[in-house]
């Protein structure tokens, strides 16, 4: 109901363009997004109003800007297999930070923010992705969000080599809303753009989990070739894990490679291969994804995909609809 009212308010506003938010002043720019999905596997059949989120951002001065993102997810779930419905309309802090822009080389972001690693993690919402699902790489290998400081900028005159030095030494701003609860995370990432089409990079870091006291050293690599209509990207991460409670050592490895062919700006087909292994629980997964994406405009996305999982009970089909407003 509220979402519909807000959506109508946006559409009625002068100069509003769907997907670009509504600028009320230099200090106040509002927007948001939501996504619906329906999935079916051997184990489960469910419908979700997955993300409902609101964005507020703006410039407080010529050098200082801020962003607040509040999100409820999953907002509503209907499990048709068990016939159970659940609603959770608690909004959490997804991001809340201040940016200080000093120069091309030195900028500081303080607060809860997206961990600046790779490609997938930087554009994590359904409407910006090419598939409804996320690879396991994006959920299992490192905390998606950082409550701390990120020093970032470009190391060359050409703005081709970007760095991030980030650190957290406290609890997450909203511990109920992060994939890996942690109270320590320090790392560095580098990304190099070569020509307009090719980029590659990597990251390394160390984080300490709260629930199971793991001390994790992360190594990550990524590469992307973006030459319309073809886009190919791949990321991999390796975790060296030292469990401080059991004194057991283990590792995790995750990788994916995804290729997208855009027939035009509206229609695209996607193929992805994923691999994940966890030596501690002896788990190994191979996942293949084929998908189709239709965007009547970039900020409105209809997607359909089928996931082939090496554990056949987890193979599933997903359709989704998502909007950034």
């Amino acid at each position: 109901m509220y979402l519909t009212l807000i959506f109508v308010f946006f559409l009625k506003a002068d100069d509003y363009k769907l997907g670009h938010g509504l600028k009320l002043s230099d200090e106040i720019h509002i927007g948001g997004y939501f996504s619906l999905d329906y999935s079916k596997s051997n184990e489960k059949r469910q419908f979700r109003l997955d993300d409902v989120a609101f964005l507020l951002y703006g410039d407080l001065s010529s050098n200082i800007s801020y962003l607040l993102e509040l999100e409820a997810a999953p907002f509503y779930t209907k499990n048709y297999t068990t016939d159970i419905s659940e609603t959770d309309n608690t909004f959490h802090y997804e991001r809340f930070y201040l940016n200080y822009t000093y120069s091309e080389m030195f900028n500081i972001r303080i607060g809860k923010q997206i961990t600046p690693i790779g490609y997938w993690n930087l554009e994590p919402i359904n409407v910006l992705r090419d598939t409804s699902s996320n690879p396991l790489y994006s959920n299992k290998m490192f905390p998606k969000l950082l409550t701390g400081v990120d020093l970032h900028g470009y190391l060359d005159d050409d703005n081709s080599l970007k760095y991030h030095l980030f650190a957290q030494d406290n609890d997450d701003l909203d511990e109920d809303y992060i994939n890996i609860k942690n109270d320590y995370f320090i790392g560095i990432s580098l990304e190099y753009e070569f020509l307009d089409e090719v980029s590659f990079g990597g990251a390394t870091g160390n984080y300490k989990t709260k629930d199971d006291n793991r001390d994790v050293v992360l190594y990550q690599l990524d590469a992307k070739y973006d030459n319309y209509p073809f886009v190919v990207q791949a990321e991999m991460a390796y975790n060296n894990i030292d469990n401080k409670v059991t004194d057991l050592k283990s590792h995790q490895f995750a990788a994916y490679s995804q290729a997208t062919y855009n027939f035009n700006m509206k229609h695209a087909v996607i193929g992805r291969y994923e691999y994940f292994e966890d030596s501690h629980i002896g788990d190994t997964n191979h996942i293949g994804v084929i998908g189709y994406s239709y965007r009547p405009m970039y900020s409105v996305s209809f997607k359909a995909e089928y996931q082939f999982n090496s554990n056949s009970d987890l193979s599933k089909s997903i359709i989704s609809f998502s909007v950034l407003f």
């Binding site: 997907g19 822009t101 910006l128």
Partner: protein
């Protein structure tokens, strides 16, 4: 007669290939030179400084022929790809450049806002503005 034809052809060629528009900044700015890549990076909000000076890019309205030419000849990015870019930037909390509705308001903005950089027809350039790039 032959000389007249040659001169006419020469002038015609010059007029065909001379720039119609220019990227300009306030004459008092100490920025004297920017590369095409820097202009592109400034207008997609990837770059915010030139020679350690903060830059404020200014666009014409999206329906303006001048903006269409600027996107085609300088940015070299299609409107669809720009729309995709700004949708992604909206999620990152980055707004597109401010918009001025006419050549005159563009000139006034550039003269009054430190670091403002925009584009206008060559014929509208006056002595208060400095040309950084012609297209």
């Amino acid at each position: 007669m032959i000389l007249k034809i040659i001169i006419t052809l020469f002038l015609l060629t010059v007029s065909l290939y001379s720039a119609e528009y220019a990227v300009v900044i306030d004459k008092k700015s100490d920025i004297t030179k920017v590369s095409l890549k820097q202009i592109k990076d400034i207008f997609i909000m990837k770059r915010h400084f030139i020679n350690s000076k903060k830059i404020v890019p200014v666009n014409m309205p999206s329906t303006s022929q001048l903006r269409i030419e600027f996107e085609k000849k300088v940015l070299k990015i299609s409107r669809e790809k720009l729309n995709r870019h700004w949708t992604k930037q909206h999620f990152q909390g980055v707004s597109p450049p401010v918009v001025q509705s006419s050549n005159n308001s563009m000139k006034l903005f550039i003269k009054n806002v430190k670091g403002a950089i925009g584009y206008i027809p060559v014929s509208s350039i006056d002595s208060d503005l400095k040309v950084l790039y012609e297209f």
